[in-house]
């Protein structure tokens, strides 16, 4: 089963839930940290990294000897990443989305696939949890190609947990795409509720079944619960606001390791999600 953990609002506890769930399940689990701009799962999981590789995205590489400066590539490029005059061709790689269109339209075959490093991918283990995460190079604008690369390392023979980035635009969408179920982590505050609604909207449009975890329960008001009831969204789980839990998180320690009872709760949660996802 593939479960993604998202939220809309940042800082609600996605990574904490993802890691605690992964270590509670123990065996046959793979955690993919798709928050490539600010990956945090490895800081909580403390894996031993056994493999690292650079990740590249496609950029056009112009063969000046074949190029006759016809400009068809620049004319096609929907992202204005190419600029052609009779004596020069400029490639703006930060604008390139890697669609490959320029390569197809060049009548002289003068464009080849060059590559440009956008970040790195790491793979490691913490006991029997396998983690794969990506780290976007600082200054690189686009997260989505790196997220795709992280997901390419998905091992469907394991249960897969995807830790999504905050927000409800394309990095989050790329992460949750094709998951069997999405858990939305929220906090019971007006910001939490507002952003939850945006995330729910996305998942409904994508036809991905969902459920909610209320984190820091007790700090705010009841409106999140009223919303979920009205929309028939299952509230799978509550994590109460407790100083101890917050302290452990701040130290980089998953709380299910230190506070008894939680591992069992996360295991039950996972099984419930399996049922809801029809698996």
């Amino acid at each position: 089963m593939i479960v993604s953990i998202a939220s809309g609002k940042g800082g609600t506890g996605k990574t904490s839930v993802a890691v605690n769930m992964a270590i509670s399940l123990g065996s046959n689990i793979q955690l993919l940290d798709c928050d490539v701009e600010e990956p945090n799962a490895h800081l909580l999981l403390h894996p031993k990294i056994i493999h690292e590789e650079p990740v590249y995205s496609l950029v056009p590489s112009i063969n000046e000897r074949l190029c006759d400066h016809c400009g068809k590539c620049a004319k096609f490029c929907p992202y204005n990443a190419l600029f052609v005059t009779p004596d020069e061709v400029l490639v703006f790689r930060e604008l390139c989305h890697g669609c490959g269109g320029c390569i197809l339209v060049c009548p002289k075959g003068a464009i080849a696939e060059g590559r440009h490093k956008i970040g790195k991918l790491s793979l490691g283990y913490a006991n029997s949890v396998e983690i794969v995460y990506g780290e976007l190079e600082v200054g690189e604008p686009m997260a989505t190609p790196l997220i795709r690369e992280v997901k390419r390392h998905m091992n469907k023979n394991r249960n897969v947990i995807l830790d999504a980035p905050p927000g409800a635009s394309c990095p989050m969408v790329e992460t949750v795409k094709n998951s069997d179920f999405c858990i939305l982590v929220t906090e019971p505050t007006p910001f939490g509720l507002h952003d939850l609604k945006v995330a729910v909207h996305v998942l409904e449009d994508m036809n991905i079944p969902l459920g909610v975890i209320v984190n820091r329960a007790g700090i705010g008001d009841k409106k999140v619960y009223e919303y979920c009831e009205k929309k028939n969204i299952p509230i799978l789980f509550e994590i109460p606001y407790q100083r101890k839990i917050a302290e452990l998180y701040s130290k980089g320690i998953p709380f299910s390791l230190e506070i008894p009872g939680w591992k069992e709760k996360f295991r039950k949660l996972f099984n419930e999600v399996k049922v809801l996802a029809g698996k």
Binding site: K9, G10, V105, G139, G167, E174, H194, M206, G220
Partner: protein
Amino acid sequence: MKQVKQITILSGKGGTGKTTLTAAFAALAEDAVIADCDVDAPDLHMLLHPKIIEKQEFKGSKLAVINENKCIKCGLCREKCRFDAITEDLKIDPFSCEGCGVCAIVCPVNAITLTEQISGYAYISKTKFGFMVHAMLNPGEANSGKLVTLVKQNAKTLAENEDIPLIIVDGPPGIGCPVIASIADADVGLVISEPTMSGIHDLKRVILLLKHFNIPSLVCINMYDINRDNTQKILEFCRENDIEVVGKIPFDSKVVEAMINGKTIVEFSPESNVTEEIRKIWEKLCNVLNLTGNC
């Protein structure tokens, strides 16, 4: 000639308190345009209650459309699409389609066209503290960076036309293109950090981002008393990197109470330690920006 100053409030990590702080600054500032650049999940309006004066359509991207009547099911489009946006049964997945047009050019029967989409809306509004510009990206859409740029442009035009000396930008989380767009042309980036291991990790990355674009950074530690060891780590890091820490805000449950009441912390709890610390931070910011008349 006066130049409009700009400060962007960011964090790297989500949930550290950017919006809470931006709202507080809005309440304290005498003359500023507030720009909410978290266009995916904007929250500032819940504290500032803007009345919309102008609404603009944002046409961010295109979407491929396959004419089923012309389609001969050759599958060439699916083969050439680099974004896995065409399904096995040759339908466009709108959540993956980037509107690049490759499918349209390879289709042997010209069955594919690209249509422009309204991906969201930008707003210019008035609040009791002054003008506010903001936007909402339709859920699941791409090009949030472009919409952020539009919000910033609206802010600049407004500030220039109305003779307002300062733009305060509430930035999105992360370090990717919407964040890059939110810091463009900023005089300073104020990073709100939290004293957690993840918070420290993310702080370092966002500081690198500001350095990459030659924007001076300032740091503020929010909820500093939840882990004093980590607060020390942040202070050391800033010392080592010559970054001024402009304030340390204590944790206070009144912050959430204020949010529930739809008020900035400054209005809700003017005498609290949090508000006092925020006032001090605001004074420091005014000094850094040479806006002493605005404080």
